[in-house]
């Protein structure tokens, strides 16, 4: 089953073209890794897929589950099952994690025509999903990401992913700023969320994360285009040889 098809996607920020014709196909059950040097457009691609207004799509199309993704507002994309794990999760002072997640879960349920979740059901769900990422339960009553350590913020992202059970998760450098133990915990969380009917795109600089979240397909993004696509062995090759040989190839 096809989940995502990107055709010739171009996107600008402030008139500067960052994505210069991306083509990508993601099917159910697959884990894709997108790697590439700094400034190649990886995070831009993630942002465009999540609907960040900062970027202007100038050309191309994105079909998600057969629907036009670019036509949806960010919140509708989320309710339809798209999830972006932020590279830099945002702090929201005064909004507790519980209230934040409850609002999110209920918006998702409403979208599906379901009644709001009951308080006890919600607490049960929270507890269960927090265990997933070994998250400290005291974090739930605290303001979203406020004063969280780098590791706590990333765990919180995966926790939110677990709560919302997306069909397509895009994890933008979820490993950055994490120590090796935290990477393992976060990766385990992600692995537990893998299902035959969903897909995950992992954006990362390093092979390290891919030791834990083993991809089916690895892409190299460079200068706004995907310049190489191969199996998981490509990641190892990149770790060893860097990106330069690919750039030359091009």
């Amino acid at each position: 089953m096809n989940i995502l098809t990107i055709k010739n996607l171009h996107a600008n920020i402030d008139g500067k073209e960052i994505l210069k014709g991306i083509n990508l196909e993601v099917n159910a059950g697959e884990v894709h890794a997108i790697m590439g040097p700094n400034g190649s457009g990886k995070s831009t691609l993630a942002s465009v897929l999540a609907g960040r207004e900062l970027f202007e799509v100038t050309e191309g199309e994105v079909a998600y589950m057969g629907k036009d993704l670019l036509d949806m507002s960010p919140e509708v994309r989320s309710r339809e099952g798209v999830f972006l794990g932020f590279q830099y999760p945002v702090e929201i002072p005064g909004v507790s994690n519980v209230n934040f997640m409850k609002a999110a879960v209920n918006e998702h349920r409403k979208h599906k025509g379901l009644e709001p979740i009951s308080a006890s059901e919600f607490l049960k769900l929270m507890r269960e999903k927090m265990a997933f990422v070994e998250m400290d339960s005291t974090l739930t009553s605290r303001s979203v990401n406020e004063g969280f350590s780098g590791g706590e913020k990333k765990r919180n992202e995966i926790f939110q992913m677990a709560m919302l059970e997306p069909t397509l998760a895009i994890l933008d450098e979820t490993d950055s700023g994490l120590d090796i133990d935290a990477i393992r915990v976060v990766a385990n969380g992600v692995n537990k969320l893998r299902r035959p009917d969903n897909a995950i795109i992992v954006i990362t600089h390093y092979q390290r994360l891919l030791d834990y979240i083993v991809p089916d397909i690895v892409h190299v993004l460079y200068n706004g285009r995907i310049i190489k696509t191969a199996g998981k062995e490509l990641a190892l090759e990149l770790e060893e040889k860097g990106y330069d040989w690919l750039k030359d190839d091009k």
Partner: protein, 446 residues
């Protein structure tokens, strides 16, 4: 005729009426006060402290002034259930500045509360000792005017070690068929180690212009633990000036929280003198304004002695063309070593036309202190909005969550638990736009 002389003339013409119904201890301060007022006048914007709030303009408007209680034939408690509490409080009703109710003084656990006028006869010694001792009639024209005209208000006396299990709730109603000027005077005396919570709610019940000039003196004896919460919820035709004078003595704790949900023009003056060592003062405020409302908070904390802690936090959310101001003074006197004084003012502007003026003022004459201040004026955080949207939360809802999160900092400081929930709900309602007029209000005041 200028504004000052018109008030002086009004005073002269009604002197006999003013003197009726209260004891000489209140009356003996009148002549000095009116003289002082005559010199000071009502502050214009030329007075630095009132730079952003033109009181003189409002005080010059044509208002009816009543010097005898004008109780309409209404049963207040049944007519109006204050939105704040569906919880248990000792209620005191004030109608157009005068005590409303048959039993003028109530007593619970030794704590006396009720009509100031009545108490001025019954508690002569206390009035001699405390009445008009904290109020600043020398530099504040509005306070001097209140002292000259004071007739009634609320008196609270908590004897040594007295504790009330429920808050005292003062509900100020304005209800008249005429545009009306009201001057309320409160005196609260909290003796050693007493523990009392007070809530003051302000409401307008008729679609007339109202001007309130209230003065509250609060004496906090050593080791007393007192909380004062104001819920200001008046319509757009109202002007409300409050002047609180608080004196804290050794090891006392005083928390005040001024929540302005609604009001045409509001000016709150909060003056605190930390007069004994190891005091703790918390002065908080939150205002939510829209249309052309104007809310100005002035707070001055005077660290007169060493080893005290004060903490000020004021927040404002301004919509439409509303305006706001915060003027926060901290004075640390030369001997007030080991002072810790913190102050912050944070404001959110929801439109390009809303304005807020934040002015922190620290004067520090001691050299071993910890002080900080900060003022921010900003908009909703676009990154946070996107973050919430990316989790499925609609834009409007995401904005509300953020606004409420912003306000929550102050709401959570309300110590009275049951009240905190009500305040939270009212703030949420106000932010959702459901409180475009005061709760339970059937009048349409625009």
């Amino acid at each position: 005729m200028n504004l000052e002389s018109s008030y002086v003339d009004l005073y002269m013409a009604n002197m006999d009426l003013l003197r009726e119904g209260v004891s000489d201890i209140i009356n003996k301060h009148r002549s000095d006060a009116i003289e002082s007022f005559n010199l000071l006048g009502i502050p214009t914007k030329k007075v630095e402290k009132y730079k952003y709030t033109n009181l003189a303009e409002r005080f010059a408007e044509d208002f009816e002034k009543y010097f005898t209680p004008k109780h309409e034939a209404v049963d207040l408690p049944s007519l109006f259930t204050c939105d704040v509490p569906d919880f248990d409080t000792y209620k005191v009703y004030i109608l157009n500045g005068f005590y409303y109710g048959d039993k003028k003084l109530l007593e619970e656990n030794g704590v006396v509360f009720g009509s100031l006028a009545e108490a001025s006869f019954k508690y002569l010694e206390l009035f001699e000792k405390y009445y008009n001792t904290l109020a600043d009639n020398q530099t504040e024209g509005v306070t001097a005017l209140n002292t000259a005209f004071a007739q009634d208000g609320v008196f609270i006396y908590a004897p040594k070690s007295a504790t009330l299990n429920k808050p005292i709730q003062i509900i100020n109603f304005l209800l008249s068929e005429e545009d009306t000027f009201v001057q309320t005077r409160n005196l609260f005396v909290f003796e050693e180690n007493s523990n009392v919570r007070v809530i003051i709610c302000d409401h307008t019940l008729s679609a007339k212009r109202f001007l309130t000039n209230a003065v509250t003196e609060v004496y906090v004896a050593p080791e007393a633990n007192i909380e004062l919460v104001r819920m200001q919820n008046e319509h757009n035709l109202s002007t409300h000036v409050t002047s609180d004078y608080v004196q804290q003595n050794e090891k006392s704790v005083f928390i005040s929280n001024t929540i302005t949900l609604h009001g045409g023009m509001v000016r709150n003056n909060i003056n605190v003198v930390l007069n004994g060592e190891y005091c703790e003062n918390h002065t908080y405020g939150l205002f939510l304004s829209d249309k052309i409302q104007h809310v100005d908070n002035y707070a001055n904390i005077d660290h007169a002695v060493p080893n005290c802690v004060s903490n000020e936090l004021f927040k404002g959310v301004l919509d439409d063309k509303s305006t706001g101001a915060f003027n926060g003074g901290i004075m640390v006197r030369r001997d007030a070593q080991k002072t810790q004084a913190y102050q912050a003012s944070n404001n959110l502007l929801l439109t390009g036309e809303a304005r807020v003026y934040a002015k922190p003022q620290l004067e520090i004459y001691a050299d071993d202190v910890k002080c900080s201040h900060g003022a921010t004026v900003g908009q909703l955080d676009a990154e946070a909005l996107f973050y919430m949207q990316s989790r499925g939360i609609g834009k409007r809802k995401a904005q509300l969550l953020q606004l409420y999160g912003f306000a929550y900092d102050v709401v959570q400081k309300v110590g009275i638990e049951a009240l905190r929930e009500s305040v939270a709900e009212l703030v949420r309602k106000r932010l959702r736009g459901e409180l475009a007029r005061c709760e339970n209000c059937s009048i349409n005041c625009g």
